[in-house]
Chain length 321, copies 2
Amino acid sequence: MYVAKCRQGESFTQGKIVPYGDISISPCSPILNYGQGLFEGLKAYRTEDDRIRIFRPDQNALRMQTGAERLCMTPPTLEQFVEAVKQTVLANKKWVPPPGKGTLYIRPLLLGSGATLGVAPAPEYTFLIYASPVGDYHKVSSGLNLKVDHKYHRAHSGGTGGVKSCTNYSPVVKSLLEAKSAGFSDVLFLDAATGRNIEELTACNIFIVKGNIVSTPPTSGTILPGVTRKSISELAHDIGYQVEERDVSVDELLEAEEVFCTGTAVVVKAVETVTFHDKKVKYRTGEAALSTKLHSMLTNIQMGVVEDKKGWMVDIDPCQG
Amino acid sequence: MYVAKCRQGESFTQGKIVPYGDISISPCSPILNYGQGLFEGLKAYRTEDDRIRIFRPDQNALRMQTGAERLCMTPPTLEQFVEAVKQTVLANKKWVPPPGKGTLYIRPLLLGSGATLGVAPAPEYTFLIYASPVGDYHKVSSGLNLKVDHKYHRAHSGGTGGVKSCTNYSPVVKSLLEAKSAGFSDVLFLDAATGRNIEELTACNIFIVKGNIVSTPPTSGTILPGVTRKSISELAHDIGYQVEERDVSVDELLEAEEVFCTGTAVVVKAVETVTFHDKKVKYRTGEAALSTKLHSMLTNIQMGVVEDKKGWMVDIDPCQG
C-alpha cells in the first residue's frame, strides 16, 4: 500500500510503498472522532496482451480535491494522486486478475489524522492507497431488485452528498440491511427535501431510459458525481441518445422502460425491478437493453478490446518503479 | 485509556486500561472508509472535599446504544459503558483539575474496526475511552455571537442527526471556519427540510426564552438529545418555567428575550447576539439572565456545592481499581 502524510498548512511530498498492514493512528484523530475522511475507488484492468491499465484516474484525483475543499482537508495534487495510484498498482501488479476474471480495485483514502480534541481541521493528513482483486459487486447475474426507501435519506442540500466523504456511507447501512433481509439487492434513495425525486443507490448512480431519452439526477450537491456515470452519459450520447441531467421523479421512474445503475464497483448494471410501497415494476433487461450495450462499450474500452479514442485509459509502465 | 474489542455477532467482554497512545487499525476498517463510528463526551469533576464524580454516565451509555442501533454496530452494555468510564477516570485521577480550574473531559468512542471492503457492518468493534483535562470550550468570557447558517445544513430527516455519529461533525467544519473567520463564535443551523426552523450549533443544543417560556427544538431525528439539554430542561422546569420541546422558527429566535446553548463541553452558555442575513439581534446576558442562573444550578450540583437531589452524580471510588 501507499502512504503519505502532510501537516496542516503544508503540502504532500512523495509518499512511499510499504507492506500492506494495520496503520497506527491517534485516538484523538478527526477521522476516528468526527468522520473527517474521503475515499475514492478505481480499477486496474489486465488486457488480453497483458498490459495493465487504469481508468480515468484524473477524475478521481479531481473529485478528491473537491471533497477535500468541502471537508477542509489538504489533498494531494492531481499529479501526486495519479502517480501514487500508478505506484500502488505496480507494487500489486501480480494481483491484477487475468482478463474476464476480475479487476484490481484501488482504494485511495484521505484521512484527518494527528491529535486534536475539538471539531476542527486535522493537524495532519494521511493519504493512503490499498488495493484488492475483485469480481462482481452485486452477487446477482441478472438485474437488480431495488427497493425505494421512503424512510431514510442519503443526503441533503448543504450536506456532503456531492463528495465522496466517508460520512455518506455508514448512515445508509441500516437501510441496506433492511432491504437485503427483505430480499432486495439494494436501496434507491429519494431526496430529503421533497421525497419525490430519486437520487442514488447506497453506492452507485441511477439512470432511467424512455424512448430515446436517458435521464439521471443532476449533481447539484446531493448526488455523487460518478466517474462511470459521466463516462456512460458520454457513451449514450455518442450512440444517439439524448442524455438529460435533471430531477427525476418516482413517477417517471415507475413509467420508465429501462433502469440501470453505474459505478466503479458495479460498472453498469441493469435494474430488473423497482418496488415502491406496494407497487413493483419490471424493466427491460438482457440483450435488448441499452445497459447491456453500454456495459459492453465501456468494458471493451477498459479491457482494450476496442481502441480508446477518448483517452480514458492510462497505461501502467511495467518498467517503472 | 480503556480499550475493548468484540467481533460481529458477539458481545463485549471486559476491556483493559492501557497507556494512552496511537491505536493500530486496518486500512480497510469501516471507520476509516465509511464513517462507522460514534462518540460520547462526559466530564469528571473534583469537589472541594476532593471527591471525584461523573455526571449522568448512564445517559451517555444509553445514547451510545441508540447510535449503535442506527449505525448497525454492537455497543457495550449500559453497565460495561459506565464501568469503563469509571476505570478510565480512576486511571487518570491525577489529571482531574482542582475545583474551579476545569474538568476531566472523557471521550468514549465506538469504532467499526476489522477489515471489510464493502459498505456493510464491521467484522469487529472497538470501544475505546480516552480523557483530557479541559477548561472553557468557547474562548469568550461573555456571550456567544452566532451566525445563522443559510447555506449548509447539519442534518436531515432519515439521517443520523439524532445520534452522536462521527458523520455529523466533519461536514460542519467548513461552516464553522467560515463563521469564525467572519468573527462569529459559532454557527446555528436551520432544518434542511424547510430552512425555517432552528436546530443546533456545531456541537451544542439551543434554547430560547420569552417571558416564562423556555423553548428548544424537539429530538425528532435531526437534533442531538443532549444530556445537558435534558438536565437544563428539568432544572428550568423546577424553578417554574414552562419548558416546550417544539419547532422553533427563526422569527421566534429573533424575537426572543434570551438565547442560550447547552452541551457537555459548553455547559450552559449565553448567546449575546444572533446574526441572520443582515439582521443582528442582541439578547439578555449576565446576572439577570436565566442562563446564568441555570449554569449556577447545574455546576453547583456537579461540583458538589449543593446536594444532588436528582441522583445525577456518580462517585468514583478511589479505592477501586
